[in-house]
Structure formats: structure tokens, C-alpha cells
Amino acid sequence: MTSHFQDTAKTEITLLLVEDSQFSREMVVFRLKDRFKRILVATDGLEGLALFNKHAPDIVLSDHMMPGLTGLELSRTIRALGQDTPILLMTSDTTTETLLEAINIGVNRFIPKSFDFEALTRLLDDLTREVVTKRELDRGRLRELELLRDRDNYNWTQQQTARRKERHVVRNDLRNQLIKGPGGQLWGLTVTHAPRDIMCGDAHSVRELFDGRQLIFVMDAMGSGLSASLSALLATSFCNYQVDHLHLWQQFNLQSFLARFQEYLGSILLEEEALSCGFFLVDLAGEKLEFAVFGMPALLVRGVDGSVRKVLSNNAPLSIFSEEVQFDSLSLSEVADLMVMTDGVTDALLESGDTYRDFLLDDYRLVPTLARLQQLFLQQVMGDDLDDFTLLQFQRLAPPPVWQWSCEFCPSPGALEIAIGEFLQELSGRVSLSDELCFELITDLNAALVAFLAHGAGPIRLSASLWCGAGKPLLTAQVADSGSGSRADTLTRAQAGSGLETITHLFDAVFTDVSGGRLILLKTMDV
């Protein structure tokens, strides 16, 4: 026996000795007592079985010819219990029948009586080695399982932390918030950020600047995996940091902002890396959008008259090799909405082998909201092959309507019902409403009004308008009261299942005042 097995046997292995001859018992115990941690001694087969059941020894050394229960019978019973404990049978009956029976029962080794102790210890060493090896393998497997479990826990914790970090960096200051332009114009901004993994190469940030303008940046780091997500998050973090310190700048302009960004990017990108990104500075007072877009899919712009045009990137993707940046601007005075997206949308493969780019423009012409465009996109692309994608829509909330209606009432369940009924009657005079759509509008508006009234007070003004700039009409419903209403932040933080949270799922988009008191709901009409 190697010292390792010997040591292990001395500290861990229990031997059950079953022998009816007192002399033999004493001799065996005397010779083996120092080799095992413990020797259990039974004077016959029945006692041996009782000790086996009670102590679960590691090895059984049993005589065969014994009163009550023979060694073979004891062995058969042990195997019948499902135990694979090694059994060494000592027997003077070495006939072929007995040996065959022993083999069939599952006895591991034999030793003919009378034996010399060297032969016995050799056989016991073999069995001990097998037991110790099996035990170590089992322990190894257990350790591995524990390690895997620990690693799983570790990875899960890491992923959750990374997700929190990503959410901390990727932000939208204007989520669900009405953005006010000159002359009472209202705008809203909706973003879908759909990462394939927890950390992804797409990132964005929507920031309200100290001077009332809005700055939007969208990043799509080239490549994939952690490297791309690091680039996107570092780049976005740097932009966020710049925005947080803009008040220290004497005069903010996109040119200086981007010059600093390029300088920073030069320090974090590798030589073969490139970053697709877009920077959009919204100046509603000046009705102007200034932009610098670097190697991104075309910006889609829809006029209030429904005309659609593509605005191409004005720069190649950014890299460490700095080039002069081209800035452009477009007037927002006649714009109904504009859609920014990453190539996860345009390059998504369809089953036909085409990319979604071929269908994007038609779908955009058909539906007026991001929610519905996303729905059409997901219906067509192959889900398994979907990359990270970002969709961002900046839209005018009251484009010139083809129909409008309003009423005022004091809040009560009856008044609510009458108002919605009147609204539907008026709307059905303009568009043909199916029973299904009527039911949907009644339930959705009811839910929205009830959720709004829970935070409001005083007389309610409910108004609605219809815009037909896209293939499908866009219904805009507006609820206003003199109370606190539902502030944008309460909507954003609304708990899952609450009334406010529910209405964000019933409508294509929901916007509220920062101060509350006004709720705007958008819904694409399937007429």
C-alpha cells in the first residue's frame, strides 16, 4: 500500500470483520488493527448484517461458512440493499460452483482458508485503494459542483452589477416627459434599447441641457462582445460627464463637444476599432436640429405632411484616426418625427435572406410610432440572429390634425363613461371603427383616466386629435386637470402592475408634464 492510501485508511476507512471463529477473529484484528481507522467485529452473518446496516463500513471481510447467515448469503443481502461496498470473502470452499455464485452475487475478492496474512493484507490493500480512489473522485466531483455553483453565483452577481452599471450610464432624462417648444408645441422622445447580452455594443444618452436644449447621443461600437460594450459605455460615460459639466463652459457648441470627444476616443479605441455614433442637438426654440452622424444607418425624417426622407450620415465611423468633422442641421418647423437607429435594425436578416433595410422605409411610412415600427420589425426578422439594437424617435405630439375633439367634465365614474362615449361617437364619424377597436379604446382610455385621476383634482379636460401623416392614423389623446396629475417621474418609476405602469403598455407612447397635470397618450389606429 502506498503511504497515501495507508494514511487515508488509518484515518478514514472502517472494516467490518465477520468471523465465527474466535481464534481467527482475534488474529485478524491483531494483525489489521493498525491499518484501519476502525474494525467492527461480528461473530456471525446475522450480527454482521446488523453492524453493516448500522455503521455502513467501507470494506467487508467475511468468512463464508458460518451459522445463521453464510458469507455468500450476507453478501447477497448487502447487494440486494443496493450497496456496492467491497466484500472480501474468506472461504475453505473453493469449488467452482461456490466461486461462480460468489462472482454472480458481486463479491469482489476471495481468499482461500487458511491464508497467510501477507496475501490478506495485499487483497485488503487493493480494496482500500479502490475505496479511497472512489471517495476522492466523489469528493472531487462534489468540489467541482460546489465550484460551479460558486462560479454561477459569482457570474450572476457580476452580471447584475454590470446591468446596473449599464443602466446607470445609458440614460434618458426625458423618458415619458413632455418637451415644450415655442408656441405651445409639444414633443416627446421614445427610445428602445434592446441589448442581446447584459453588456452590449449599443448605448445612448438623452440629456436635457442647462439652456433648455436637448442633446442626444447614440453609440454603436463596432465588433461584438465585451470589447464593443466597453467602447460604447466608455464613450457614453465621457459624453455624460461632459454634459454634467457644461454649465462650466462659457459657450456650449456641438463642435467643441465633439472635439473633446474625439480626443478622448483616441485614447480608448484600438487601432482597428471604429465607433458608429450620432450626436443630435435639439433646439426647439430655434426649430433646428444640429447633428454629426458617424457611419450610422440613415436618419428617417417624416414631415407633418407625411413625406418621408432619409438623411445620410455626414461622417464616416469614428476611429483613432481623426478627421475633420462635418456638421449639418435641419429645420424642425415642418417635421412630424425623426427616427434614429443602429445597424442592429437595418442589418437584421430576414428568412428570405434579405435584410430589414429593404423593408424599413415602407414600414416607417405605414406606422407613426416607434412602438409599432418595432413590432413590425420583430415580426419579420429572425429572432435567433438578432443583434443589439437601438431605436429612437423624436416626435411632435400635436401635428396638424385632420380631426379633433374635446370635452370638460368633473371627475366621476358616470361622467367618465359619458365622455368616452361621446369621444367614440365623434371619432367614428371620422374613421371607421371596428367593434374590437372600440372596445380597446374604451378599456384603454378608462384605465388611463382612472390612473390619471388617482393623482389629479378638479375638472378634467379630455381632448383628442387624429393625424394621418403615416399610412395608419395616429390618435393623440390628452388629459389635463388643475391638480398634480401624473408627473413624468412617477410614470417612469411606476411599479409593475400599477395603474400608471399598465397604461404605458396599452398605448404606443405615454408622456406627462414634469409638474404633472397633463397626460398625452399616443395610439396607432388599426383602421
Binding site: 454603436d220 463596432m222 465588433g223 461584438s224 487601432e271 482597428e272 476599432e273 471604429a274 458608429s276 452622424v293 458617424f294 457611419g295 450610422m296 444607418p297 440613415a298 432619409k310 445620410l312 450620415s313 455626414n314 461622417n315 464616416a316 465611423p317 476611429s319 484616426f321 445597424d343 437595418t346 442589418d347 436578416l349 435572406g353 434579405d354 435584410t355 433595410r357 429593404d358
Partner: protein, 98 residues
């Protein structure tokens, strides 16, 4: 996707989509560079896409290695994509039958 090198020309057939495709293109061009090629012409026969990894590599070739890169594309949809990404000029892109 398959690549075939003919002097300073790299002919690519099939859709360029995966990381492996980008690596194959990169290795082929590096091989051409070691033979002293200073003017690489890519003929992209039928791909609808060009991976971002390939774009990053080609950008580095143009700016750091000062290689002249030209791309001839067979599918007009790839031409439109490169136009959207503002890469026509940088990579001297033209249509195969244009």
C-alpha cells in the same frame, strides 16, 4: 463566404456576416501586404453587408498603413449601405457594372 486572391485583387463571394468572415478578409489582405501590395482592390460580388470589424480594419489600412483601398460591389444594396455609412469616398466604392 469565400475569398480568392488575384494579385492585388480580393474577390469575395457570399454574404460577409460573421467574425470568421472578417478574419478571413483581414488575413487575405495582410497576406497581400506582405507581398508588397500597396493598392488593394476588393470585389464584393454579392454580399449585402460589410461587417463593422472589416470596416475598422479597412479604415486602419487607409489611415495608418497608407494603403489605397478600392471596393467594387456587385449588389446595389451594399452600395447603398456604404453610402449611408459615409464610406463611399474613403474606400473608393463603385458598382461592379456602374
Amino acid at each position: 463566404m469565400r475569398v480568392e486572391t488575384k494579385g492585388n485583387e480580393l474577390v469575395i463571394t457570399g454574404n460577409i456576416k460573421s467574425v470568421e468572415d472578417s478574419v478571413k478578409i483581414k488575413e487575405s489582405i495582410v497576406g497581400m501586404m506582405t507581398q508588397g501590395v500597396k493598392n488593394v482592390q476588393l470585389r464584393i460580388m454579392d454580399s449585402l453587408l460589410l461587417t463593422s470589424t472589416a470596416i475598422g480594419f479597412l479604415t486602419k489600412l487607409v489611415h495608418q498603413d497608407e494603403l489605397k483601398v478600392s471596393i467594387t460591389v456587385g449588389d446595389p444594396r451594399l452600395y447603398l449601405l456604404l453610402e449611408e455609412l459615409h464610406l463611399l469616398q474613403k474606400f473608393n466604392v463603385r458598382m461592379l457594372n456602374g
